[in-house]
């Protein structure tokens, strides 16, 4: 009787250990994908390039500044020539790099204001506008700089800065710690099972459980395309967010498929080890 209870207890303990491994594999999948995507400044820039962000953003910024121009004696072509994709790309890069470095969450518009003043002075000369009221011009430049900064900065990003920086700082260590714990628990399961095929059975359960838990959320989001209903003012940013979030979910799905493959390996390994054990 006590031998039977002891076997049941051992089985229960191994199930709990296998569950912990499954849970840690779930955490590992999302941690690794996060670390390589949204916690990495290059990922957003690559997503922007892939989703034609800078061309779309130029259209939007030129339109917003042109609306300002309608009230300030500046014609449409001025901003069409002044705002370039290169300028947008450089400023966006600087903004994101400073953001992820933790140095600044606001775009510095000093060079924008300086360049705009220079161009407006040329514009006034070319169009024979005579004596220009510098105070009014500076007011226009200040307003234009606010419009430009608001178009480059990502909404709510500054509010999330604290959380993102904490995650960035701690994620590599967290991933390392999770991997170590998984290996330690797996070693415990392995060495406390006299028959190794039984240890492999628990490994299978961990990987299969991890596959099921990891696959559900990204599969749901990709199938329903829920993210496409996000309400974002900027079309350029909308396209980039859809692209980058979908890629994030695809990366998570790839992790889940990896777990599925590993569980399949464990399944066949179990079969072969059990055959050897029963001989």
């Amino acid at each position: 009787m006590s031998k039977k209870n002891s076997k049941k207890l051992r089985f229960a303990v191994h199930c709990v250990l296998a569950f912990v491994v499954s849970l840690l594999l779930f955490v590992l999948a999302y941690s690794v994908v996060l670390q390589t995507t949204f916690l990495n400044s290059d990922y957003l820039i690559e997503s922007m390039n892939a989703s034609n962000y800078f061309a779309d953003k130029k259209e939007e910024v030129v339109q917003d500044l042109t609306d300002l121009g309608y009230a300030s004696g500046v014609d449409e072509k001025f901003f069409e020539d002044f705002i370039t994709e290169v300028k947008l790309s450089d400023d966006t890069n600087s903004y994101l790099t400073a953001y992820y470095d933790g140095s600044n969450t606001q775009l510095d518009t000093t060079s924008f204001k300086r360049d705009m003043l220079e161009e407006l002075q040329k514009y006034a000369k070319q169009n024979n506008l005579g004596e220009v009221n510098q105070k009014n011009v500076q007011y226009l430049i200040d307003k234009a700089a606010v419009v430009y900064r608001n178009s480059i900065e990502i909404p709510l990003f500054s509010k999330a800065a604290g959380g993102i920086h904490k995650l960035q700082n701690n994620m590599p260590l967290a991933i390392f710690a999770v991997v170590i714990v998984i290996l330690v628990i797996s070693a415990v399961i392995f060495f406390t099972n006299k028959w190794k095929h039984r240890a492999v059975k628990f490994y299978f359960a961990s990987f299969a459980g991890a596959f099921l838990s990891v696959v559900i959320f990204p599969a749901f989001m990709l199938i329903t395309n829920y993210i496409s209903k996000i309400n974002i003012e900027s079309r350029a940013l909308y396209n980039t967010i859809i692209y980058s979030v979908n890629n994030f979910f695809v990366a998570v799905l790839i992790c889940s498929v990896l777990y599925l493959l590993l569980s399949a390996v464990m399944f066949f390994l179990y079969g072969s080890l059990r055959k050897k054990a029963s001989k």
């Binding site: 569950f19 499954s22 849970l23 009230a71 004696g73 506008l129 009221n133 079309r235 059990r274």
Partner: protein, 225 residues
């Protein structure tokens, strides 16, 4: 002889049930540990996500069909009231060559294509202040040439209105004395950025005031059965 092999029984339990239990256990722990955070995120998502994909078109709907003759006894229920961003009329000041589309609302699309009624003010025929804004570099550029006594015509999809210009002023954009939104007498206030034809922006606005002359007043009373 009738005994099942022990390993085939445990094969089924371990390979199907355990992963499902682990799946349920994982999400139970997530919801237990992060329930309040998930609830917060879910509420926030409700504000950030809408029922359908956002429409990024820059077009607008035009419900303006000119009215040949004003209708007597016009009731509110007879009117197709414009929605925000729709064109529902046109504004003309023939003496200074202003002929522009009139929108309900003064968003960017409206002001790129014409002039817009501030949607916190009234529309013609409803007996209060009609506040119309436009850009000084485009459709309200010639507002600088208006004089007292000039006629402003507003044609809407429910009637034609006339106003007579009584005054012009240059005031600060946030000057609360510039107009009275709650006036109980119909009047028209047009405004644009000031100065005209100069490079730069200021916080000044050029206001043009006009009194109501003619046009159908809309009966907004509710009929009792």
């Amino acid at each position: 002889m009738g005994k099942k092999h022990r390993s085939s029984k445990s094969y089924g339990k371990s390979f199907i049930i355990l992963p499902i239990i682990f799946l349920l256990g994982t999400y139970l722990i997530i919801f237990t540990a992060f329930g309040s955070t998930i609830s917060f995120i879910s509420d926030a998502a409700g504000m950030v996500f809408s029922d359908s994909e956002k429409d990024y078109s820059t077009g607008y709907k035009n419900i303006f069909v000119p009215v040949a003759e004003n209708k007597e006894g016009l009731k509110a229920g007879d009117i197709e009231f414009p929605q925000y961003g729709q064109q529902f009329g046109e504004l003309l000041i023939k003496d200074c060559d202003i002929n522009t589309k009139l929108f309900f609302g003064d968003n960017d699309i409206a002001l790129r294509n014409g002039v817009g009624i501030y949607n916190g003010s009234s529309v013609p025929g409803f007996g209060s202040t009609v506040l119309v804004g436009g850009h000084n570099n485009t459709y309200f550029h010639n507002l600088k040439d208006v004089k007292k006594g000039m006629t402003v015509q507003i044609h809407t999809n429910y009637g034609n209105y006339e106003y007579k210009i009584t005054d012009t002023k240059v005031l600060q954009e946030k000057d609360s004395s510039a107009y009275d939104i709650t006036a109980d007498k119909e009047n028209l206030v047009m405004y644009t950025c000031y100065p005209f034809d100069e490079l730069g922006l200021t916080s000044q606005r050029f206001f043009v005031y006009a009194d109501y002359v003619s046009g159908p007043q809309v009966d907004t009373s509710v009929e009792e059965d």
